[in-house]
């Protein structure tokens, strides 16, 4: 069930009504959320509900096991590794089994021996990478004694499967989300209106920006050899906006939906394309995953408080597994490695935390220096996105090969029926609104303060009308569902 589908338009009001009808009984509310989340997930494939339930049971029991204060360190470690083993084992099997078999076969063939590994037809369960990391964060935090293990199985199950963020994040930490399932909720008008506003903006990003850019990007990426170099650059730029609109749009809808149920999810995007260097970009892009890797992988490895050689190792390791998390393909690994290469000079020169504020804070326009640094950072990410979008390394190589030709200095040409000018105008409006709202949680958050109710409602109506008018015929599922 997609957020931008008719099914969800029926599902959501029903769950919302039931949830708030039960607001005197927290258990009942959690029950409603749990059942609706299971139903939401089973709309894709009910068989994989068993994986969520298994993951829930394992981590709940291990949490209870770790509650026992008299356990020795080695037993506590054993419990932790059981949880990691089961969760990562399931993820590894469903997501990476075939990839590793293929790589082993290729490697053995290269050395002149044969390896009889058989690939099998495996369906990747939607959202497995997201809920696996979420439950793992619970066990690790309990193990580190950062949070108390819960004895409330209903609340824990609802935390693992909470439908707004179940299939594509944000990847929540137990320390933030779990207590919210244990606390009684009161309907808050301001928060609910804010949630609705964020949902609207998320739909705009997904249905107008991402889906329109997708039409152009798909056409260009489908056959790089048939397009001029400048058109290929344009295709990569459109893909950059597609993936941003798609994923941050999803996050906005998820956060907004959760707000309507009285939950506060963590911010997942913070206007990353207005970053002045790659380090800033990674503090603002897919924040819930970046901070997950920072807290549970990078810092335990020593982070930046270690020798130079280990710093380099840590950065590459984290970026590469972060890339690999996205999918079992060399393109994601190269994408991760490329970002590590972009990031490393900043880390080694200790400039990775230069830009902790918002660009041009309190000003309408950026300075020339800011403009240049933002543009160059954006172009670096665009280059890396080519690997992310490409079907294979040879596809990416073909794309790059055709991108660096003399036709780079010609006007881009698109022969498809896709209206490029309309998309460009929409993109321009979108970037302008995002720029004006870059100091808020999401672009149109401050509209409440800036406009009176009449103008505000006119603005919302125009956004709705724009969605109706400019949604392309071809509807694309959210990109991150495949991860």
């Amino acid at each position: 069930m997609l957020f931008n589908s008719i099914e969800f338009a029926f599902f959501f009001p029903v769950v919302f009504s039931l949830y708030w009808l039960c607001n005197r009984n927290l258990k009942l509310q959690n029950g409603v959320l749990l059942l609706s989340s299971y139903y939401f997930y089973s709309c894709w494939d009910w068989r994989f509900l068993s994986l969520i339930i298994l993951s829930t049971i394992v981590d709940y029991c291990i949490g209870l096991g770790l509650k026992n204060g008299s356990l020795s360190i080695s037993i506590r470690k054993l419990f932790l590794w059981i949880s990691i083993g089961i969760n990562i084992g399931l993820l590894g099997f469903f997501k990476y089994y075939n990839f590793f078999i293929e790589q082993f076969t290729a490697a053995f063939t290269l050395f002149g021996t044969s390896f009889e590994g058989r690939t099998i037809s495996i369906i990747l369960p939607v959202g497995i990478s997201f809920y696996t990391f979420q439950t793992l964060s619970y066990t690790i935090d309990v193990y580190r004694k950062k949070i108390e293990p819960t004895t409330n199985v209903l609340a824990f199950s609802a935390f693992v499967s909470f439908f707004p963020q179940l299939v594509a994040g944000p990847i929540e930490r137990a320390s933030n989300l779990l207590p919210q399932f244990i606390k009684k909720k009161q309907f808050d008008y301001t928060s609910a209106v804010d949630g609705m506003r964020q949902i609207l903006w998320g739909l705009f990003k997904k249905m107008i920006i991402a889906d329109n850019c997708a039409e152009i990007a798909n056409t260009i990426f489908y056959s790089p050899a048939d397009h001029s170099a400048s058109t290929l650059v344009l295709g990569a730029v459109f893909f950059a906006f597609q993936i941003y609109g798609d994923f941050s749009g999803y996050s906005d809808i998820a956060i907004g939906t959760a707000r309507l149920f009285g939950f506060n999810l963590m911010k997942n995007f913070s206007f990353p394309y207005f970053s002045r260097d790659i380090a800033e970009f990674w503090r603002k892009w897919h924040i819930s995953l970046s901070t997950w890797f920072r807290d549970y992988v990078y810092i335990p490895l020593g982070g930046s408080k270690t020798s130079k050689a280990k710093q380099i190792r840590n950065v590459f390791f984290v970026f590469i597994i972060s890339g690999f998390w996205h999918g079992a393909n060399w393109t994601f690994i190269i994408w991760g490695a490329l970002n590590a290469m972009f990031f490393l000079p900043l880390l080694l020169s200790k400039k990775n935390r230069t830009h902790l504020d918002t660009v041009a804070q309190g000003k309408l326009f950026p300075s020339m220096r800011e403009l240049v640094t933002m543009t160059s950072t954006f172009l670096l990410t665009v280059m890396a996105w080519v690997f992310f979008r490409a079907e294979s390394l040879s596809h990416a190589a073909e794309y790059f090969q055709n991108m660096f030709e003399w036709s780079l200095f010609t006007m881009p040409v698109l022969t498809s029926k896709v209206s490029i000018s309309t998309t460009l105008i929409l993109l321009l409006i979108f970037v302008l609104i995002e720029w004006l709202g870059r100091e808020s949680e999401y672009a149109i958050e401050n509209i409440e303060r800036l406009l009176n109710r009449f103008l505000r409602w006119c603005f919302y109506a125009i956004v709705i009308a724009a969605i109706i008018v400019f949604t392309p015929t071809e509807q694309n599922p959210f990109i991150y569902f495949q991860f």
Partner: protein, 296 residues
């Protein structure tokens, strides 16, 4: 909560006017509304239908049908026919058209053009074509709502509005649109032109379309109409990209008489086609003559 719900309702009422205004003002710039004159000549075809109360053969299917079955060639062999094909027509729309018009047009045989594309289609393009060109009734509304697509909803609303206010009373479709010429009886002719190569992705059969296909088979059986399934020829380049052609052929053969013309006639991509999957008039002649031999 009451306050919140009250505001949601008030906003819904309030928003109707700006949204309607916005849609009205941008109607002709709106990429999400389909108007008539989009090509395919379905408007002319539907309007001509009443002139053909009784035919020997009725053709249904996608552009492969209305560009592939030339009613004039069939006439030469003494076969009266009418072509009810439409742009990207998938089994959902074929079923819709048959249910709506089969009472008005008596026929002995139905030649149903089937292909992996039409059975894999989401049917949106065809639904839009029909809604914008056909006279609306509850069946049209039902089909539009089932599509669950913004563009279809917009077009449905716009067409209802146009029809209710009788705003297109003066509309008449040109016989020649671009390179296409409408021929009485539903055929659309395109003469030989430079062959344009294009590529397409592999097809995956859509179960919803397959169910509609099965309903068409039952419908014709119940009415005692002979059903002939035809896969129209496409370029060898295109046909080579189809996966599981054998399995598609055996599935189709299980339902009725079935002819796959990619296997039955030998055509030259650059001589008989104007793009990767549409015959030009030279190709149509070869295809239709062979079809008549087989079914007559």
């Amino acid at each position: 909560m009451k306050h919140f719900l009250k505001h949601i309702i008030l906003f819904s009422v309030f928003a109707t006017l700006p949204i309607a205004l916005f849609l009205g003002l941008t109607a002709h710039l709106n990429p999400n509304i389909v108007f008539k004159k989009q090509g395919g000549h379905l408007y002319s075809r539907i309007n001509e239908l009443t002139k053909f109360p009784k035919v020997d053969v009725l053709f249904i299917g996608s552009s492969h049908a209305y560009r592939g079955f030339d009613t004039r060639i069939f006439k030469r062999y003494g076969i009266n026919s009418f072509n009810l094909g439409s742009s990207s027509q998938s089994p959902t729309q074929s079923l819709y058209l048959l249910k709506k018009y089969l009472d008005d047009i008596e026929c002995e045989k139905i030649v149903f053009e089937v292909s992996p594309q039409s059975l894999s289609s989401d049917g949106i393009e065809s639904t839009l074509d029909i809604i914008s060109n056909d006279n609306m009734n509850w069946r049209t509304v039902k089909m539009g709502l089932k599509a669950q697509h913004m563009k279809v909803f917009n077009t449905l609303l716009y067409s209802a509005y146009i029809q209710l206010l009788n705003l297109d009373a003066d509309f008449s479709e040109d016989k020649i649109i671009g390179k296409d010429t409408y021929i009485s009886g539903g055929f659309v002719e395109r003469q030989k032109q430079d062959f344009k190569k294009s590529t397409s992705a592999p097809y995956k059969i859509n179960q919803k379309q397959f169910k509609c296909f099965e309903k068409i088979v039952s419908l014709t059986e119940n009415r005692g109409i002979e059903l002939i399934l035809v896969q129209a020829p496409v370029t060898s380049l295109e046909y080579g990209m189809y996966e599981n052609s054998t399995s598609f052929d055996s599935t189709m053969s299980a339902y009725s008489d079935y002819y796959n013309f990619n296997e039955l006639i030998s055509l030259n991509d650059s001589v008989h086609f104007y793009d990767s999957h549409h015959l030009n008039q030279t190709g149509v002649e070869v295809f239709n003559n062979r079809l008549i031999e087989l079914i007559h």
